[in-house]
Amino acid sequence: MATRRTRRSITTFVALTLISIILIAFSGQASSGIVGAVKSVGSAVVSPVVSVVDAVTRPIGNLFAGAINYGAVSSENGRLRATIGRLEQQRTSTAFQVQQLKELTALQDVPFLGSLKTVTAATTSIDVSNFAATMTVNKGTTDGVAVGMPVVGGGGLVGQVIDTKGHSSTVRLVTDGASHVGGVFGRTSTYGVVNGAASGRPLSVDFVAPHSKIRVGQTVYTNGLNGAEYPAGIPVGTVRSASTPVNSIQMAIDLTPAADLDHLAFVDIVIWVPAR
């Protein structure tokens, strides 16, 4: 026969399990209501402590990483200096063309990233799960950041703001399994939906007709179609493989993210909210 202690434990376990399942059922509406408030409080309590721990441990981690990868860091530094030189040269020569493009896109009422205001934010890297590719940045509602705003940096689209508080925001990366971006292949009129899989995995593209002219190395940009989640013209990724499987109704396309998501110290949050 079960003792009183055992019965009480079983009751507690069953009750907590049921509460968890109810919470999961309601998690779809997590951005509003009681669940949203609970999340905000829990996150607000942890964030300052995490920042302190991060500030203490990051230099130690950097020291080890720098010592282990000294050769790679040194050569990367050289490559970056060369890239900066090339970009400076390009910047001066393309200023005129950018201005022309801005005027043309304004005429077509298509939002162009260059004409949109951005807020620069530092990443604080709270990513406590292996099952969600997110990061936290140090700008929030007080800086004009809102849910849905695109985040760019490191050479392309980084992701989208999914939660924001006074001085911090959570960004879902393009590699997250729940990320879906409307894209267009280079200068063509081939459209598709770019999906994330998991951190470190290539992006995949859906809804591209079989045997479309897609080539490896081609860049995919946000398409900015009416009702799109992102303004047009942001590089999402480059094609690393493209083929049409036998009897398939669409192509199998993998992309490498355009943004270097592993080395993001700063990002730009685009002050642009998608039309709902």
């Binding site: 009480r8 968890s20 919470l23 990051r58 406590v128 399994g177």
Partner: protein, 179 residues
């Protein structure tokens, strides 16, 4: 659990979550990192039984859920299960500490950590959340086993301190002989 015990457990959870977010998240191999939050309910269960284990797992999981975009309540569910199962071991007389062979504590820690990440992945996948099926589970398993085994004993000491003498589910005391 009294208020003081609850506060001390909250402190242990806060330190664990901070270490996770501030330090362990940056230790990535093949884009996965170890998760140590599952050690809290495992240690609480082993120290104080299934009831306290389940409550601790629920609280720690709920706190972690506040920081994640994954379904709210999923970590709480996993934490509850781990805490309860660890508590069942305690009920059956498994005592980690003096008198045991050295690997029992680390072994149970590795098992709890492994169970946490796998259960979380499977439940998330069953719920249809994208991305749960795309993780490198082999690397995650190896990483989790090593880190969880290494940190289980410090976690047990911390939880023992937090729960103190009164934190556990009271068991009938054996009367000592008076001589």
């Amino acid at each position: 659990m009294s208020g003081r015990v609850g506060l001390r457990m909250a402190l242990v959870m806060l330190v664990t979550i901070s270490l996770q977010a501030g330090l362990l998240d940056s230790i990535t191999i093949s884009h996965v990192h170890p998760e140590i939050i599952w050690l809290v309910p495992a240690a609480a269960g082993l120290v104080a039984g299934p009831g306290v284990g389940a409550v601790s797992g629920f609280a720690a999981g709920l706190w972690i859920d506040c920081l994640l975009p994954t379904p709210f309540g999923l970590s709480a569910l996993v934490g509850t299960i781990i805490g309860y199962l660890a508590g069942l071991l305690e009920q059956r007389g498994v005592v980690v500490g003096s008198g045991q062979v050295f690997w029992v504590g680390p072994g149970l820690g590795a098992a709890a950590g492994l169970m946490g990440v796998l259960l979380y992945g499977v439940l998330g996948w069953l719920m249809g959340s994208d991305g749960f099926a795309s993780i490198d589970y082999l690397v995650l398993t190896l990483l989790e086993v090593v880190v969880a085994a290494s940190l289980m004993m410090p976690m047990l000491w911390s939880v023992r301190w937090a729960l103190g003498a009164e934190g556990g589910e009271r068991r009938p005391r054996r009367r000592r002989a008076a001589w």
